[in-house]
Symmetry: C2
Subunit: 214 residues, 2 copies
DNA sequence: GTCTATAACGTGATAGAC
DNA sequence: GTCTATCACGTTATAGAC
């Protein structure tokens, strides 16, 4: 019996609502600094609004964070699904699509992986369970092709989790470790991004080799 | 002209000094929660001492953190060196040693990688430069063997950084992503550790395949 | 809805007795 | 060296005017 009605936004892209402005600011700051290190004042400043408005719209720092966390995790995991479930493409093509998509996504938003891993560990919640991502992933066409390949002797038998860890490790880890890697290699951001672009082609090659390695 | 003298510890193992107790507690809490999320009160409680003593010995939370950070980073990176510089072993054997060492280290202290990556990013300092690890790594026998392999046509030409990222990605990433992977795979800690143990043998096989992949 | 001012609380650090 | 008590400050959240 709620009486409030969602306000109709006439030009959401040109003139984002205050709520949107706060969420966008929160996303940026939370991703960059994590929950504990961000102050609500930072978010308010980034959004160009007053601190009180944040609590007016979202009641608390934690509630705002939960929203950002959920959206971020969904964006990260669900971006996999389209590639995973196209029945017409080979396993190799799917690997190519996943690596390419992730590298593009993370080049644009490099803070996401470390944010997710840190906050998921700090707050072992049931988010992953609620999202039902596990079931979707494990029943995907991608996994079916993988197991079919094993059955046909084209792929060396291996726990699918190893396979997922390898693909993610090769793709996502360089973004998590970029401060260290840039430091060890004396690389500028531009040079590092070029390495990442190279990996779009390299990772599928490597993954193919891994599938046959024994 | 310092007049203070280091106190002689008669039984450091049995009866650690207060300073040691605080450092050990700080290491545990900082590794688990990172700088921002840990409160000095947590450290004091973990150490079984009073909060005031922490400031008496280390002056500030930040100074204590810097010590832990330096020691942790050294422990993580320098643990590589012995394996890297043995001239009598093959590249394959070195990969085996590195993967095995890291998996053992991180099974015992799984918080270390996420701690290092997070804090290195939050505070882009010159620690890595100061440690001189870059030079040591790039001039190691390990890298020489790698480049020799390329010259002899036994290894597909590849930026050494890709090689390092791959080895670290396959080895270290599963520890960084363990909350997510355990969630996706519905695994207990014990089952996850078994997967990690399997990887001691699998990673060298995969890395060997990667070196030849084209 | 948006602001200013302030309350309520948590945290790092110190004073001072022992 | 170690403790209790307390300060000083920053931060989240709210009250209340507009």
């Amino acid at each position: 019996m709620k009486k409030e009605m969602k306000q109709v936004k006439t030009k959401p892209a040109v003139d984002p609502s205050t709520e949107e402005k706060i969420k966008n600011a929160a996303r940026i700051i939370f991703h960059k600094k994590g929950f504990s290190a961000t102050r609500t004042r930072d978010i308010a400043e980034e959004a160009g609004i007053n601190l009180a408005l944040l609590n007016y719209y979202f009641r608390s720092k934690e509630k705002l964070f939960d929203i950002i966390m959920l959206e971020t995790l969904q964006g990260f995991l669900l971006s996999l699904l389209p590639a995973l479930n196209i029945e017409s493409t080979s396993l190799e093509k799917k690997i190519e699509a996943i690596a390419g998509n992730y590298i593009d996504l993370l080049t644009a938003e490099p803070d996401i992986p470390l944010f997710i891993m840190s906050e998921l560990k700090a707050n072992p919640n049931e988010l992953l369970g609620k999202m039902g991502i596990k079931e979707v992933l494990m029943r995907s066409h991608f996994i079916k092709q993988f197991q079919q390949g094993i059955k046909e002797g084209k792929i060396v038998p291996m726990n699918p989790l190893h396979f997922m860890m390898n693909l993610m490790g090769l793709t996502v880890f360089p973004f998590i470790a970029s401060p260290m890697m840039k430091g060890l290699g004396n690389l500028t951001d531009k040079e590092y991004n070029e390495l990442m672009q190279q990996r779009k082609l390299l990772i599928p090659t490597w993954m193919k080799a891994i599938l046959k390695a024994k």
